[in-house]
Symmetry: C2
Subunit: 584 residues, 2 copies
Amino acid sequence: MTRLFNDPAAFADEALEGFAAAHRRWVRPVTGGVVRAAATPAGQVAVVIGGGSGHYPAFSGLVGRGLAHGAAVGNVFASPSAQQIRSVARAADGGAGVLLMYGNYAGDVLHFGQAAERLTADGVETVTYAVADDISSAAPGEAAKRRGIAGDLPVFKAAAVAAEQGLPLAQVASVARRAGERTRSFGIAFSGCTLPGADHPLFTVPEARMAVGLGIHGEPGIGEQSLPTADEAARLLVDTLLKELPVDVPAPGGQRAAVILNGLGSVKYEELFVVYRKVAALLEEAGVTVVDPEVGELVTSFDMAGVSLTLTWLDERLEELWRAPADTPAYRKGALGEPGPASEPAAPVRAAEETEQPAVPEASEASRQAATTVLAALAALAATVDAHEDELGRIDAVAGDGDHGIGMRRGSTAALRAARAAQERGAGAGTVLIHAADAWADRAGGTSGALWGTVLRAVGAALGDRDAPTAGRVAEGVAEASAAVRRLGGAEVGDKTMVDVLVPFADTLTAAVAAGAGLTGAWDRAAGAATEAAAATAALLPRKGRARPHAEKSLGTPDAGAHSLALITRAVHGALLDHPHDQY
Amino acid sequence: MTRLFNDPAAFADEALEGFAAAHRRWVRPVTGGVVRAAATPAGQVAVVIGGGSGHYPAFSGLVGRGLAHGAAVGNVFASPSAQQIRSVARAADGGAGVLLMYGNYAGDVLHFGQAAERLTADGVETVTYAVADDISSAAPGEAAKRRGIAGDLPVFKAAAVAAEQGLPLAQVASVARRAGERTRSFGIAFSGCTLPGADHPLFTVPEARMAVGLGIHGEPGIGEQSLPTADEAARLLVDTLLKELPVDVPAPGGQRAAVILNGLGSVKYEELFVVYRKVAALLEEAGVTVVDPEVGELVTSFDMAGVSLTLTWLDERLEELWRAPADTPAYRKGALGEPGPASEPAAPVRAAEETEQPAVPEASEASRQAATTVLAALAALAATVDAHEDELGRIDAVAGDGDHGIGMRRGSTAALRAARAAQERGAGAGTVLIHAADAWADRAGGTSGALWGTVLRAVGAALGDRDAPTAGRVAEGVAEASAAVRRLGGAEVGDKTMVDVLVPFADTLTAAVAAGAGLTGAWDRAAGAATEAAAATAALLPRKGRARPHAEKSLGTPDAGAHSLALITRAVHGALLDHPHDQY
């Protein structure tokens, strides 16, 4: 378990601060993460990686010569926000474009995708690549749905060395794809980690049992077995990976492979070496030559007890890139010579939203009055999230990565703060919601941060700052939010995500308002529909200990996202009851 | 807990094999451990380090350019044997002598000391240095009694760089002493590790509590407190170290220090960074400039949850040595340039005892017959140790490092095997015991290995191979063993070690034999005295949860060593009853 922290909500920020203080020779902090201590040489593509905290050395520990130019660092187990990623990428950019690389998780895909759009709008040519190496997380036919685990390292490294060799962005991205296609990982786990401030581990594995194919946040695996010997574990890992070879590697034998035996946190070095002894022997038997093996902790999950094996099937070019030297806080290899004199460090690029106060357009008296109700609703929302944080994390850990409670709390707290600041500056109801939306997305990161930012923004846009909000306007905004979340997340009703709750909520609200109900009454009915839908969704979901053939994670936090939405609709109803407005 | 292993007794050997397979670029295996892949340049002092397994990267992970020339690798938490150390040192020797370095534990002190004597006899100039950085383990006035923990690294490194600079042995040793005198560590712990194959952790700390000053094997600390915040933990570590400065650093302020914040295994990287953030701030406040800090896992104890802070107070020379580059499996720093072409690897130096069958002098028929009784006694000894292995480990963990059960089993099993081989080759009783003694000391390592080797050797020497052993001869041998153990371990009755049991056992045996009792009857009486003495010693010892002002570890395994000796005397009595011989 995680024992040493101050305020759990500040954990990721404080860890990043300590990390940067300990590694000044390699990195400097910027808004949203870190970049190399020396500026990216002009004309060199910048490789910017990122993901949630709790996985060190991924991601900040991999910034330095021969590896990434920068890392966007999210909260614990939560994707960095698009704003953070953009800020780090701007600081790392050497004028030749940016390759954004990350593990293939819904939240990261959303935020890195949005960041790429914003960077392109900023005039920075940007390409994204999501590493998807975990073969247990989707069938070979759906390889694009796979999670990224310890295969991050060889893929990041290949692209970064190609960038340092001066290749243009398109070719650097092509190297990343080639490395990604030839990288496969498979893992086993024995126990989960307990996040800072949490009471319970994210997941548990029964004593003397082993979860097979478990994700690095405890996402479901493909089965459970009794605890193996070290040799049996090695055989399972090797055999599984040798069964699924890249298309241009028809059968094992005669190939060369980069090998990573990765400890997740509590399977310690000597244990890893005992396993590696057999891994090396089995690969040799299969005719596979091991090149520069790595045995250690390269992608962790706090003190989770687990181990994964990664193979990158090398061709001549990939071998050159894998063997190239690197000098980062957590990964050093070969001889790079002394670093040149550090370039004049560029001033950290601060996100516009953080340095400038966002604009507050003029608002009508009626809209300003309605803003107090919006504020009360956001306060009720934040209070209910706060009260249910642990519960949401636990529910999420059943099928997701356990970050839902943390992310929702950070997001809702930041949203309330931003809303209050806007309201004090005279903002109308629409602007209060839009400021809250941006703060939520930026501070929470993760899938839920992106989606809740979208929800609040849609409702805010519908309300505007001119007229007193009517029940009809609110219903329109909610309907628009429902459509936007479906578009952004690519999910529909039945996919076991918050969409399962948002759609009936929006539909019931619209119908009730159309039938002449006031906002408070209509909201009450809609909240009832939301609660029912959440219960129905929960019943569809697997329970701990039941293995599923493949992870079904489309919107990142199924069940937990549905559950929190239902709780929130009920809490907001309470706020509406307390703040009756004639116009509703 | 340690989950991935095959045969627990083979764990350390298999880990070493896997480690060497993964790091061929840096190291090559030799009997007893590893040395650098390239031979030590002629005329360069070789720095050979070592200790028990379970502490990776200590010790094998620290072999390579800029650090050690070789590492002797003991069993789990047990000192390597003198034979192993000698073998590694012979392989690492470049003709300019060897500096043996290790943490200050009774078993290591015994075995490295014996190895130095043998190396000197071999014609290899040898000096030893024990790192003793843990200020919680003895008062400032008794600093030589302190344990070695994470301060190993800066002291090893300083000496190794001095050796690479071409200094002669005496000056390299003087650098080690200077670095050691200026290195201080202090640690805290939250939970212990479970050794491979064991059912229970070596020690536990109550939930939400913290042990202060705990050793890396769970040896007693100086107190217990409630779980601190990360900032409070940082303050405790820094304040404690700033209270005890080296004599030539009168007050903190204006100095420069190397800083290591070391995780013991399960306090993970982000937690360490949160703590380091405050450590750095507090040192800055105190006017101490931090030089090349290290935050990570440098000396572990499997997955023990703990953290220690080490400061090395630098002068200009020590700073140069600390900042020098290094390239080892687990510790890489700065730029060393590509390694030169590897020298022709010297053939591993195999210990004479392992490559040649030890000699079996001619024996009388009577002595050969008595050898069957000796064999039965050794079999009973091994069986009782086997049956009590876990119990002995647990008892040892109260006040020692928990290795007693493992060490005793490895030793007694090896002794029985060697005795059987000798007996099959026609050895007499004396030679059977002497072969058993050497096998025990070599295979078990640790304090108990050295002491039991001494015990069996003394009895074997008294019995000889010519005459039928008499009760008087046996009593003489046991009396000589009692004296030899006191000499070697520097302990007397009352120091709460096996001496507390061995002395009354030997005295009672001698008295009973002198009074005319046969061996079996006399042994019975002596075993009774041993059992009583062990119980009395146990009553003197602290129990878990009771903090002691300072660790009282003179012979390494008080209580457990006394307890196992009493058990063994009783088991041997059973063997004597089953194998009556007229002459006894």
